[in-house]
Symmetry: C2
Subunit: 104 residues, 2 copies
Amino acid sequence: MTEDNTTKKAKNSEDSVVFVGGKPFMNYVTGVVMQFTTQNAKEVVIKSRGKFISRGVDIAEVATKRFLEDTVEVSNMKIDSEEFENKEGKQVRVSTMEITVKKK
Amino acid sequence: MTEDNTTKKAKNSEDSVVFVGGKPFMNYVTGVVMQFTTQNAKEVVIKSRGKFISRGVDIAEVATKRFLEDTVEVSNMKIDSEEFENKEGKQVRVSTMEITVKKK
């Protein structure tokens, strides 16, 4: 938590990503909101995969419409797929989504 | 299934929406693919809500990357929320997503 500029910049660009998983829903919403309110982030990227994509959208909606209404907005969305081999050696495809939320 | 132009146009604009629900996954993928291959649709909108949003993304990814590679692409994405009162009179929020897939 040093405050010199270089560290801060690096920290901001790295930290402004929220990976969606199985923790309680509000953890993620708070995570996004705090990036803007206490970390002064300009944008936050919400990254999700597979079944967590629905959650990623929920998080973006609640953060932008309930907590940071009029302050932030969804500026970009990207969907993609990743292919990999699972433990049984079978080729598996998983969808991924990135939602960028940006200060207005 | 009349073939005069007016009916066809009306049909195309109405039919080119796929609502994602709990049917077998491939039903939806086939639905999207067939709109392009047999109905000659220029674009198809995949609409999903709540937990089905992840599926909507999967459908778009499989249709565009596995079945109609090089022919169609995701041209637009939109997320939103709907608020309504549930049976218990409680205010509930649900996320919605629209993915537009378009002929290249």
